[in-house]
């Protein structure tokens, strides 16, 4: 199987869907002539031309709203946010229009569009550019939220998202763009809403998504090597829809839970997961559910401090040991 980067996997997904469906159009700031601020779309303009690969001015509300409107008439816009943080400039278009359109029209209209881009901290770009709005997006019925943590999932989930008939917010990670992994050539679909057990274990379940769950994989290796603890690691991959079954099966197996995510702790995905787990697997819990999140404050710029604010392999390892006390 070819080994490619997360960035290339995303590009392959878009290229394959561009080939497959003439209604797919890729749109965003600097995605064409500039090759993409993070080079995800590099080469697509040369291959597909300006009708399919559309450079936009800096007008998130207008071009996301345009994408919503165009999706109502049958296009499948895939809109890049240079930073996912810029979603807030288009909040009304996403959460009033895309999310509610089907409902307010009594099912007469649907909006098959994808809004994708990096949603992460850790690159010293300060609070305005480091938002991780998974829970804010997933809070809205009508919206789907996907967060791939590996190159293979980046491709398989993006292809599924583009074919989906509901609006999907697809959150990537600039730090993962250069990560490599095996990715199937050609048709490779990962269904939305299917979690993956990355590593089997028996002592506790570490559950989360995005870059934090990749840190958990490293923490689990250390836990096994240094502490003789076998942690199970579950990557959610998709927030809404959510694979409750895989999560609960793991909890029933290990009886201890550590939730990890890069977002802030209040009203976050892990907070929701903790609620679901206590409600549906209370009798299987041998310890309180613990969480590792970012420190609850706007994202700090200062590089060494940002490292401390974000989850880390070491914080996850320490929290796992606490969970097992």
């Amino acid at each position: 199987m070819p080994v490619i980067t997360y960035r290339e996997a995303l590009r392959h997904a878009m290229a394959e869907e561009l080939d497959r469906d003439p209604n797919v159009v890729i749109m965003g700031e600097e995605i064409g002539q500039f090759h993409g601020a993070y080079k995800v779309t590099e080469g697509l303009l040369a291959k597909y031309g300006p009708k399919r690969i559309v450079d936009t001015p800096i007008s998130e509300a207008a071009f996301i709203g345009l994408g919503v409107g165009a999706s109502m008439l049958g296009l499948r816009p895939v809109i890049e946010l240079m930073f996912f943080s810029f979603y807030s400039v288009a909040f009304d278009q996403i959460f009033n229009n895309a999310a509610n359109m089907r409902y307010m029209s009594g099912g007469l209209v649907h909006c098959p569009l994808v809004i994708r881009g990096p949603a992460n901290g850790g690159t010293n770009v300060g609070a305005t550019h480091s938002h991780t709005p998974e829970s804010i997006a997933a809070y809205h019925p009508g919206i789907k939220v996907v967060v791939p943590s590996t190159p293979a999932d980046a491709k398989g989930l993006l292809k599924s998202a583009i074919r989906d008939n509901d609006p999907v917010m697809f959150m990537e990670n600039t730090i993962l763009y250069g990560e490599t992994g095996e990715v199937p050539d050609g048709e490779h679909l990962v269904p939305l809403g299917l979690a993956r057990v990355i590593r089997e274990g028996t002592h506790l379940s570490i559950i989360g998504h995005g870059r934090a769950i990749q840190m958990a994989v490293k923490a689990a290796a250390i836990l096994e090597e240094k502490h003789n603890i076998r942690a199970e690691v579950v990557d959610l991959r998709s927030i809404r829809p959510l694979d409750e079954e895989t999560v609960l099966a793991s909890v029933r197996k290990t009886n201890r839970v550590l939730l990890v995510e890069e977002a802030k702790p209040f009203c976050s995905v892990s907070a929701m997961l903790a609620c679901i787990i206590q409600e549906k697997a209370f009798d299987h819990l041998d310890a309180p559910i613990r969480r590792v999140t970012s420190v609850d404050s706007p994202a700090i710029y200062s590089p060494p401090l940002e490292k401390i604010q974000l989850p880390s392999v070491d914080r996850i390892r320490a929290a796992a040991l606490e969970t097992l006390k």
Partner: protein, 364 residues
């Protein structure tokens, strides 16, 4: 008191006679009557809505279009029903009737009934009928404008020779998303007509207290876009002529434009508003007396002998009866069920046989 914006390109041209414009000169008596009938039907429908609202049958807001009927009737009458599209804000009753939606489904929607056009899920502000190229009915001021841009974009992308009329009120022109849309429309030559229904007040704030610049439409110049003003929005012929020109520019040359149509609403921003803090009753009465759009057309059709007293009464009685029937239909229709609360949220949930994703989509 009101500072009237300076004259427009057309206003000083006293030779302009909208009735003689090509699009109007060819109208036969039947077509003229159809225009008149639509305007009467909009007004009678809304008057019946008002009564239902006062009786507590309609919840929330009710934004009435009374006084502005010539706009929706005129604009919809020049649409190409196959390839032109339309989207508007929350004052949407006139456009819905204009494109041919039935009073029954509209009144039922207002009553929150399952037989409503949006199954009682949208309400008065959110009428939809994609089969008639009518894409809502939107509640947030100016929020529908990028969507209208997207409809135009899709038409151009798919090589369809049509246009989108994106309606907004005079309050929407100061929203950022509207200006971003102007820029994209002009930058990409999209076939969209931005129609500003300028009734003089954004809720209770007059144009002079809210909008800088000589006129709302002239802002188009900043984007190198065509613009025009229909000063006599109460004249359905003028509305038709100006909209038709803008639509042809969009369809034939894929050029966007802004058309500001001056009009007036007789009721408050919504029925719940006091409507006494920002304008004098005399102002309303003066407009009704001199510029009522239905009376204007009625008078000209009587002169042209297309309308007779007898026909006026007949059309009015039919419109009242239709509105009354719609209220009865709405009253007798069922409400949505508790199960309906979670339908029409996700396409996939409503089409389980075609569902590709797995996992939970709801969390209660």
């Amino acid at each position: 008191m009101s500072k009237k914006p300076p004259s427009t390109k057309n206003a000083p041209n006293y030779a302009y006679d909208a009735r003689r414009a090509t699009i109007n000169a060819r109208l036969d008596g039947g077509e003229q009557l159809a225009l008149y009938r639509v305007m009467v039907r909009i007004r009678r429908f809304e008057e019946r809505c008002l009564r239902a609202y006062q009786q507590g049958k309609i919840g929330g807001f009710l934004h009435l279009y009374i006084g502005q009927e010539s706009l929706a009737a005129g604009c919809c009458s020049v649409m190409d029903r196959k390839t032109d599209h339309i989207i508007t804000a929350y004052r949407d009753h006139g456009h819905a009737i204009g494109v041919g939606m039935s009073m029954n489904e509209l009144m039922a929607e207002n009553f929150g009934k399952y037989t409503g056009c949006s199954k009682g899920k949208g309400g008065s502000m959110h009428y939809f009928d994609p089969t008639r190229n009518f894409w809502g009915g939107h509640g947030i001021v100016g929020g529908q404008i990028p969507l209208g841009l997207g409809l135009a974009y899709a038409l151009k992308y798919r090589g369809i020779k049509g246009a989108c009329m994106a309606f907004m009120g005079d309050g929407a022109v100061n929203q950022g998303a509207v200006h971003e849309s102007y820029n994209l429309a002009a930058l990409w030559d999209l076939p969209v007509v931005f129609i500003i229904e300028n009734n003089g007040y954004s809720m209770g704030t007059s144009q002079e207290r809210s909008s800088a610049g000589p006129s709302l439409a002239q802002r188009a110049e900043g984007y190198g876009m065509n613009w025009d003003i229909a000063d006599n929005g109460h004249d359905v012929y003028e509305v038709r002529d100006k909209v038709d020109r803008a639509l042809r520019l969009a369809r034939d040359e894929s050029k966007p434009s802004i058309l500001e149509i001056r009009t007036y609403r007789y009721r408050g921003h919504s029925v719940a508003d006091p409507d006494s803090t920002y304008r004098e009753k005399a102002e309303i009465e003066e407009y009704k007396r001199t510029k009522d759009p239905i009376m204007a057309l009625q008078n000209s059709l009587v002169v042209e002998r297309v309308l007779t007293d007898e026909l006026i009464k007949k059309i009015d009685a039919a419109a009242r009866a239709e509105a009354e029937t719609s209220a009865l239909f709405a009253e007798q229709s069922p409400f949505p069920t508790p199960e309906d609360i979670k339908k029409d949220v996700y396409w996939e949930v409503d089409n389980p046989a075609d569902r590709k994703s797995v996992g939970s989509l709801f969390f209660d």
